[in-house]
């Protein structure tokens, strides 16, 4: 019966009207959106590859979800993440809505590394086809772990895009990868298909010392906060809702709220639960209303609003993902004296703080734990923000002790009887 239904649907006149409707959902039409390897829901990149990898295996921030980045102390690592998120949105042609801060913030977005890179790769595409397929297969294997079945059953396109590499058109089975031309694409050909041939990275890399050249047309809209207005949040909500409603149905939007409740931007009345919580609730509703078009990222200074207060607890409950950055006190030093003797590359990757996951989009809603047992640390360099498992480096100049420790460990292992 289901077969019959499908046939009718495809052949019928309704198919013409149905396909444009579904069009925004398919990743092909929206740059910077790809289906999650787990369940196929559309995800978009946060602009930080290692952060994308953290988000419960979806390899990106699932659209229709929000991410709250909390930060201890007076540093602005969370702000860097936010800028990557904004810059990624601008590069992908998404509409970026920034709340509170002025246009100066937008001018300070990090610039792209190797702007011509994408075009160059395009030229290589034909020549290095075989080499590329190796990469594709390799990447595909990784996807298979998560459940290629889920992706395949959708019959759609899965864009597997490592940063800097190319996209591929996904294929239903592993053998298909080996075929010279992936012409088994189940998606009917459309004008957009030629675009598919253009490699469009899912996640770009940015350089904090460069400045992103913003496109002339309003890629970023800034919503200012009027401290005099009785409930300042309603205007933010209205402008965002209107912007989404008035844009094309395949436009992706990113809502950014830097340093929520910071007294530098928000009036004291903003931190009243009666104003703030309904606002966040409405944002949540808005995200759910546009599960394929909107994502949001917020940052919260924990030094001003500690996690031990009920208000912050509710803020966290109203966001889908909650991450906490706890920078090490010494990391403010640009050149810590300890690392002078070690290699410069090592010094660059020295962790600058710990990252804690309190909640993850999609997964926590289902009831799953917050995932990831390892302690995580982050480091921010000129080129990138990296999150990786935390491990204490060996103590400098204490090689004897290390040796002894290693031997001791060996002996210990042998001695223990189970």
């Amino acid at each position: 019966m289901s077969f019959r239904k499908r046939n009718v649907g495809l052949a019928g006149p309704s198919s013409a009207s149905a396909s444009p409707k579904e069009a925004p959902v398919t990743p092909a039409n929206s740059p910077g959106v790809r289906p999650s390897p787990i369940d196929g829901r559309p995800t978009t990149s946060t602009g930080t590859p290692t952060l994308d990898d953290l988000l419960a295996g979806h390899a990106g921030l699932a659209l229709g979800n929000s991410l709250l980045i909390e930060e201890n102390g007076t540093t602005d690592f969370a702000g860097a993440l936010l800028r990557y998120y904004a810059a990624e949105g601008v590069v992908q042609g998404h509409r970026v809505h920034v709340v509170g801060v002025g246009e100066q913030w937008g001018r300070e977005l990090p610039g792209l590394v190797g702007v011509g890179g994408a075009a160059g790769k395009e030229g290589e595409a034909g020549a290095a086809g075989d080499k590329e397929k190796m990469k594709i297969a390799w990447r595909y294997e990784r996807l298979g772990e998560f459940g290629a079945g889920a992706a395949g059953s959708r019959g759609g396109i899965a864009l597997l895009l490592p940063c800097f590499l190319m996209y591929i058109r996904n294929i239903l089975s592993f053998e298909a990868i080996a075929t010279p031309t992936p012409n088994r694409n189940p998606i009917p050909s459309s004008p957009g298909q030629s675009d598919l041939m253009v490699p469009a990275p899912f996640c770009h890399s940015f350089d904090l010392t460069k400045r992103l050249s913003l496109p002339a047309s309003g890629a970023i809209t800034f919503t200012t906060i009027h401290p005099t207005v009785d409930n300042l949040f309603t205007s933010i909500l209205q402008s965002t809702t209107q912007a989404i409603a008035s844009s094309l149905p395949n436009t992706i939007h990113r809502l950014i709220i830097p340093t929520l409740l910071s007294p530098a931007l928000f009036p004291p009345s903003a931190s009243h639960p009666r104003h703030l919580l309904p606002f966040l609730h409405s944002i949540r509703a808005l995200l759910r209303q546009h599960p394929t078009r909107l994502s949001a990222m917020l940052t919260l200074p924990l030094s001003l609003y500690p996690r031990s207060t009920g208000l912050v607890c509710w803020i966290e409950h109203l966001c889908d993902g909650v991450l906490e950055l706890a920078p090490f006190p010494h990391s403010i030093d640009p050149e810590p004296p300890l690392t002078t003797s070690s290699g410069s590359s090592k010094a660059e990757e020295k962790p600058q703080g710990m990252l804690k996951i309190h909640r993850l989009p999609v997964l926590t809603e289902k009831g799953g734990g917050s995932g990831g047992g390892d302690d995580l640390a982050f480091s921010l360099t000129r080129r990138k923000f990296v999150i990786k498992p935390f491990s204490l480096p060996p103590v400098e100049g204490d090689q004897e002790a290390q040796k002894g420790e290693a031997e001791g460990g060996k002996v210990g292992k042998g001695d223990i009887e189970f």
Partner: protein, 261 residues
């Protein structure tokens, strides 16, 4: 997961068979949500009748075991509940969803009266289908309303009391994070603590879900503790205090097991 029973064996005595006019309080924390548990409650309520009436679908319609569920959620949208419910094979014919997230139920000018009206309307909307059906009311995130609006705690508790008179049994899910009730100082914390405390005193049983105390594990999502509430009448005494672990898979399937199992 149609092949597997959506309700694990260890869980089933706790999610079904609640006596008349009982209240079950379910508490969650930030990293350990109770959505999966609420879904099991809904599942158990709508599936009870099937066991009572056998496999004949037609006889279901006239079965006196028919239970309806009114699910009011302030933090999750209707689409999410429907999608997750469908994965469990939940039949939404007997579930009335009130989507408090999308419409901002209770946040408008009408206040708490709006909420009560909407819920009672929802209860009555399908009444014609089953005359003597039992209605189970599930309220998810009522404490959010309290936090976001600053309503009087007594007013909200009054509403809960009145709603309970209309239904067979009630399930209320609230947050119970430490910051909300450890040392209540702000009005938000004080009213949240008062609210959850008095619900706990009224409740027959309390099911609290929290993350693992010892850290994060790959095969454990959290800890589920069942304890007696203050409202358990002496005659029943069938709430067995227990604590077990649970794991929610990526497909939404749930395993509940004893510690060390």
């Amino acid at each position: 997961m149609p092949s597997q029973d959506p309700i694990p064996a260890l869980l089933s005595p706790n999610v079904s068979g609640h006596p008349y006019s009982s209240l079950t309080l379910i508490t969650s924390t930030l990293g350990a949500t109770t959505n999966w548990l609420l879904l099991r409650f809904v599942c158990a309520a709508t599936k009870d009748k099937r066991h009572g009436a056998g496999h004949d679908i037609l006889s279901n319609q006239v079965s006196s075991h028919k239970q309806r569920v009114v699910l009011v959620s302030w933090l999750r949208d209707g689409v999410w509940w429907r999608e997750s419910g469908r994965k469990l094979g939940l039949d939404f014919q007997n579930v009335h969803l009130v989507d408090g997230l999308s419409c901002g139920l209770g946040l408008g000018a009408g206040g708490i009266a709006d909420v009560e009206k909407a819920i009672i309307e929802a209860m009555k909307s399908k009444e014609t289908l089953s005359d003597e059906g039992k209605v189970i009311l599930v309220l998810d995130g009522l404490d959010f309303l309290l936090a976001a609006t600053g309503y009087e705690v007594l007013g909200v508790l009054d509403m809960v009391g009145e709603l309970r008179e209309h239904v067979y049994s009630t399930v209320i899910a609230t947050a119970a994070d430490l910051p909300l009730s450890q040392s209540p100082t702000t009005p938000l914390e004080i009213s949240h603590t008062a609210f959850v405390m008095s619900l706990a005193h009224q409740a027959r049983s309390i099911m609290s879900v929290r993350g693992l105390d010892t850290g994060v594990a790959k095969d454990i999502s959290g800890v589920l503790r069942v304890s007696k509430g203050g409202g358990e009448s002496a005659g029943e005494g069938d709430v067995e205090e227990s604590e077990c672990l649970y794991y929610v898979g990526s497909d939404g399937g749930v395993k509940v097991f004893e510690r060390g199992a």
